[in-house]
């Protein structure tokens, strides 16, 4: 079995973003960038499947600028075997990302593609589902457990009311949720080893994909700010304040 894991370079989850004063976007200059946390979970899952012997090879792919190579190196240090950088300096929307990934899938023929359920910058939550549709593959989104057996993937999903289990024929798409696993930190020797692992460089054009945006950003603004309220002394004061506010 071969697994493909797309990884996205995003603003680090600890950074509180600032909206630019000209409302053109958020200020990304000099902010810390990291692998999308859900993608770390995807890489970890692939590595665990490999450690269990269910998977032979893990290929990671990122679509983005030259620096996305660092994100690929992180994934290689966690245990992926090789990387593909589809280099572009444009902002690529999920639909175009999915089309590029379709091209990669056609070249690599993985049995499973594991993506994050959402990227924490744009919070779109669509790339994996779009890829599944473009390939006419089955999907299991928001996974909290993945079992590979006899060419089938049995996936437990976090849904609104609780948990749901689906059985998928492979090849299939899985998107990861928070409870799937706890990603490892790469060890220093593995970081050194990762430097020698191969990364192929490609362009969106190699897959015949046009990345022109369908959505244009009119503006990016600050949400309404909430003011800190008051501190209450004790429970009795809290209850009386809530009552007078009509909140109880």
């Amino acid at each position: 079995m071969k697994v493909l894991v797309p990884v996205k370079r995003v603003i680090d989850y600890n950074v509180k973003v600032r909206v630019k004063s000209d409302e053109s976007g958020v200020d990304l200059a000099n902010v810390k960038m990291s692998m999308n946390p859900f993608d770390e979970i995807s890489v970890e899952e692939a590595v665990r499947l490999k450690e269990k012997g269910a998977v032979e090879e893990i290929v990671v792919v990122s679509i983005g600028p030259q620096q996305a190579q660092e994100t690929l190196r992180t994934a290689l240090a966690m245990g992926a075997d090789r990387g593909i950088l589809v280099k572009t300096d444009d902002t690529v929307e999920p639909l175009a990302v999915a089309k590029i990934l379709k091209g990669v899938v056609e070249e690599e023929s993985p049995n499973l593609v594991i993506l994050g359920k959402q990227a924490i910058d744009d919070d779109s939550n669509q790339t994996g589902q779009m890829l599944a549709a473009l390939l006419d593959w089955p999907q299991a989104t928001f996974a909290s457990e993945v079992v590979l057996e006899d060419g089938k993937a049995t996936v437990t999903r976090e849904i609104d009311g609780g948990l749901q289990t689906l059985a998928l024929e492979t090849p299939a798409i899985v998107t990861t949720d928070l409870r799937l696993n706890e990603p490892r930190y790469a060890s220093l020797p593995n970081i050194m080893k990762a430097k020698k692992k191969p990364i192929d460089e490609k362009a969106p054009g190699d897959y015949g994909v046009e990345t022109a945006a369908r959505l244009s950003v009119v503006k990016v603004t600050e949400p309404p700010q909430r003011e800190a309220g008051e501190k209450v002394e004790d429970v009795a004061e809290l209850v009386s304040k809530l009552k007078s506010k009509g909140a109880l």
Binding site: V17, V26, R157, G162, D177, A228, K231
Partner: protein, 309 residues
């Protein structure tokens, strides 16, 4: 113009998220039809016909629709889109799961989790855990949209739209439903509850969570929520998680108990009308958004509060 709204339901009752999505579709404009895809979901189709502003209900039945499997929903919705300019679904796990497939097949970019509408091609949506609001304009001919429930009021129920039965593709599909573990509870549903009581890591165990948070919620007739830390530690089930990557809530009053107020948590509750925080650390960031903050040990304050109500 015409808009297709995808109903979210469990074959017995129609979820409130559907009514909110209809309100968003009304702001977009045009005739509104609601698709109810399910199994033995006749009562749900009837209920959808009662939503104000609905022209007609399309009712599709089949095994694969009992759990609204994504592939089946794609196969059902895509051909219907010949007759519509837009398709709107709630940004529930159903909508998030199914709609991007429809968008990809129509070759359009989905506009996810909208919080506002400024015309037939321009939408507002929160990004970066709600720390920025992006206004986007779509150049696609057809719009595929998911709707953030807390940003739109539920449409009323005074309508009497007709229900039309339509054929649904029967497969075979490459995924199959195995089982579901749904927690049955008499408590209000988290995303539409008027009151929410959430507990965090400070509770320390499932036993303490159940001993302190649950009775307070019961006293208030509130839904129970949790921080990611509390869910990860097993104090509460996964579907209780409030936040950027969990559920978005905006109740009349939200109690954050032993929750520090990380941006990912705030993203899920900062539109609540009144926020109450109980935390023993007076510097906790949750106090920066709380209307009423009580600096106290929750193990004393919560039982006291429950008794006082």
């Amino acid at each position: 113009m015409a808009v297709l709204v995808i109903a979210d339901h469990d074959n017995e009752s129609l979820f409130d998220a559907t009514h909110k999505t209809v309100t968003a579709a009304q702001a977009f404009g045009g005739d509104i039809d609601v698709l109810v895809a399910g199994k033995d979901a006749g009562a749900v189709a009837e209920a959808a016909g009662k939503i104000d502003g609905v022209r007609k209900v399309l009712h599709a039945e089949g095994e694969a629709y009992e759990k609204q499997l994504a592939e089946a929903m794609e196969a059902l919705i895509v051909p219907l889109m010949d007759g519509y300019d837009a398709v709107f679904a709630p940004a529930t796990t159903m909508g998030k799961n199914c709609m991007p497939r429809v968008a990809a097949k129509l070759d359009v970019m989905q506009i996810s989790d909208i919080s506002g509408i400024e015309g037939t091609d321009t939408f507002e949506r929160p990004i970066y855990a709600g720390n920025a609001i992006m206004t986007v304009k779509s150049s696609d001919a057809k719009k595929v949209v998911t709707v953030r429930g807390t940003s739109f009021d539920a449409a009323g129920e005074g309508g009497s739209a007709s229900v039309e039965t339509i054929d649904a593709p029967a497969g075979p599909f490459k995924s199959a439903f195995v089982e579901e573990k749904i927690v049955q509870s008499d408590r209000p549903e988290l995303t539409s509850a008027k009151r929410v009581v959430s507990g965090g890591r400070a509770l320390g165990s499932k036993e303490e969570f159940d001993r302190l948070i649950v009775p307070l919620a019961d006293k208030l007739g509130a839904a129970v929520g949790a921080s990611r830390a509390a869910v990860d530690a097993g104090y509460a089930p996964n579907d209780y998680q409030v936040g950027q990557t969990g559920k978005i809530v905006a109740p009349e009053v939200y109690f954050a108990i032993g929750i520090s107020g990380a941006i990912q948590h705030l993203a899920g509750m900062k539109d609540s009308k009144v926020i109450v925080a109980i935390n023993k650390d007076e510097e906790a960031p949750i106090f920066q958004v709380a209307d009423y903050g009580l600096v106290a040990d929750l193990f004393n304050a919560v039982p006291e509060l429950t008794d006082a109500l």
